[in-house]
């Protein structure tokens, strides 16, 4: 016997059809939602790339003021752009946003340096002498007195050509540095105002945030912990960076800085009096060591210990040439990938390799017996060995294309 109750059966069938339809509708809805999200992300990603291009453009010259722009004048492609000075490099930040979605990137920029100069020696009316296994690859700007071979400790010059590149005449002074950038660094070196953020703990600050200033206490001026991101460390006394410290992309300002043996990191260190690093220290690209001398009667110096590997920029600067010129001392068996600029002396300990450029007023080389001036003995100096991806700093007033140097978080 077939039970009738057609109404119940109809309701059940209707419910099944309703559930089936609802699931189809839900599937289509979520698919569409994801599609729209993907389209938005594609658009944001393209806008982000446009923003990066604008920040790398020569036409973008505004520093420190975030700018909101309508990319194509259609009022639906908004970008926030910001460029700041970060030590000797530029820090750029771009955010693309639409509705509740925002994506962003932050990065350091550098200048593509096409200059093939390996050596710049100011003209102090004395020649440059080369001896031993010295090899200069790249252009050399030398005093009018020129370059000559020399016997040092019974060893002649072992190479075939004195300079594997063109030789030009240098001026009496080094090419000037970017004063605007130096003034910015000076401002931080003179800082005694910021008193907040005293800490002995590890600190991380994203580059999307505003800068975090941390003053290292005078009572314990030692960095032992991890400091990464958009952080400026200030110290009023000699600051020691221990081997176990982890420094990533930060800037340090102190009157004097001591870096312990075997430290490894990536940071910019600026001091007034001296920066001394221990042996087997590794500074990853892009790092910077800088000394800024002003009205001091002492000789400020940067001393790199033996077996150091340094990638980036080492510079010393003084306002006016004094009797106690600044000195950069490069340790034995060290490898420098980048630029060394001394508005004073560069002291070399053989053997030493520089993949990049040396600029100074005078060379000093110390052997067990004698101190030689303007001699290069067993020094390898190669501009061509420097990586083609190496980007330089705005400090050197280079005219070149800006590129992304490092992506940051």
């Amino acid at each position: 016997m077939i039970r009738a109750s057609a109404l119940y059966i109809a309701i059940i069938i209707a419910a099944v059809i309703a559930i089936f339809s609802a699931s189809l509708i839900a599937t289509a809805y979520f698919y569409r939602l994801e599609y729209q999200k993907s389209m938005r992300m594609n658009k944001l990603s393209a806008n982000l790339n446009s923003g990066i291009s604008i920040l790398l453009s020569e036409g973008f010259k505004k520093y420190d003021e975030p700018q909101i722009i309508d990319l194509f004048g259609k009022e639906n492609d908004s970008l926030t752009l910001c460029k700041e000075k970060w030590g000797v490099f530029d820090l750029a930040m771009v955010k693309a946003f639409t509705l509740a979605d925002t994506i962003g990137k932050t990065f350091l920029t550098g200048i593509r340096d096409k200059d093939l100069t390996a050596l710049y020696l100011s003209d102090e009316d004395r020649p440059l002498s080369v001896s031993g296994s010295t090899r200069i690859t790249g252009d050399a700007l030398l005093p009018k007195a020129g370059i000559k071979q020399a016997y040092v400790e019974g060893k002649p010059f072992a190479g075939k050509k004195l300079v594997e590149g063109s030789v030009k005449t240098s001026k009496r002074t080094l090419p000037p540095l970017n004063m605007e950038r130096l003034d910015e660094l000076e401002k931080w070196l003179n800082d005694t105002i910021h008193i907040s953020g005293i800490t002995g703990d590890s600190v991380h600050n994203s580059f999307f945030n505003s800068v975090r200033i941390v003053r290292v206490p005078k009572s314990d001026p030692v960095i032992r912990k991890k400091h990464t991101g958009k952080i400026i460390l200030l110290c009023d006394t000699t600051l020691t960076i221990n081997r176990e410290a982890v420094l990533e992309d930060i800037i340090v300002f102190a009157p004097a800085i001591v870096v312990k043996d075997e430290f490894q990191g990536n940071c910019q260190l600026f001091a007034r009096d001296s920066i001394i690093t221990g042996k087997k220290v590794l500074f990853n690209y892009p790092s910077c060591l800088g000394i800024l001398k002003r009205d001091s009667k002492q000789q400020p110096k940067i001393v790199l210990g033996p077996n150091t590997i340094f990638s980036g920029i080492i510079f010393s600067w003084e306002e006016q040439r004094s009797d106690m010129q600044t000195m950069i001392s490069l340790g034995k068996n060290s490898l420098i990938k980048g630029d060394v600029y001394a508005s004073g002396f560069i002291k070399l300990e053989k053997p030493l390799t520089v993949e990049g450029r040396l600029s100074c007023n005078r060379f000093i080389i110390q052997t067990p017996v004698t101190l030689y001036e303007n001699y290069l003995i067993d020094i390898t100096l190669s501009r061509t060995k420097r990586s083609p991806y190496y980007l330089n700093t705005v400090l050197f007033e280079n005219k070149g294309e800006q590129r992304v140097l490092k992506w940051l978080k």
């Binding site: 016997m1 077939i2 039970r3 009738a4 109750s5 057609a6 109404l7 059966i9 109809a10 309701i11 069938i13 209707a14 059809i17 309703a18 089936f20 339809s21 189809l24 509708i25 289509a28 809805y29 698919y31 569409r32 599609y35 389209m39 594609n42 393209a46 806008n47 790339n49 446009s50 923003g51 291009s53 604008i54 790398l56 453009s57 020569e58 036409g59 973008f60 990319l71 194509f72 492609d77 593509r112 096409k114 093939l116 083609p388 294309e401």
Partner: protein, 125 residues
């Protein structure tokens, strides 16, 4: 024949009332029709394969232009979709270009893709 009729008449069948059947039919029809209407509406207004394909192709064209430093106008027809790439200077920035790619199929706009790019210098050092 007479016996068969007798047997059939001897059994009793419970039947639905006319009202029950009518209501049931109305409910099923209403749910089915509304479900179909919504489904058709969603599928018709949803994502079209052509749009997806066009978006993908435009994105690839942009990538190729940037990686090959190709700053020339271009017209491409692929799978009956017409792509037009135009390159113009980006206002206020002399070293920047605006690349715009538009996709069309039978006079229907399938989308557009714009990006500002930097004129790269040659890689030779």
């Amino acid at each position: 024949m007479a016996e068969v009729k007798k047997i059939t008449l001897a059994r009793k069948l419970e039947a639905s009332t006319l009202v029950e059947v009518l209501i049931a039919m109305v409910i099923i029809m209403a749910v089915f029709v509304s479900g179909m209407a919504i489904f058709v509406n969603v599928t018709q207004s949803g994502v079209s394969i052509s749009r997806l394909k066009a978006q993908e192709r435009m994105s690839k064209m942009m990538e190729e232009s940037v990686s090959n430093a190709d700053w020339h106008d271009q017209v491409v027809t692929e799978d009956s979709i017409f792509y037009q790439k135009s390159v113009v200077a980006y206002p206020a920035y002399p070293d920047l270009l605006l690349i715009e790619i538009k996709a069309k199929q039978n006079d229907t706009d399938l989308g557009e893709f714009r990006q500002v790019v930097k004129k790269e210098e040659d890689e030779d050092q």
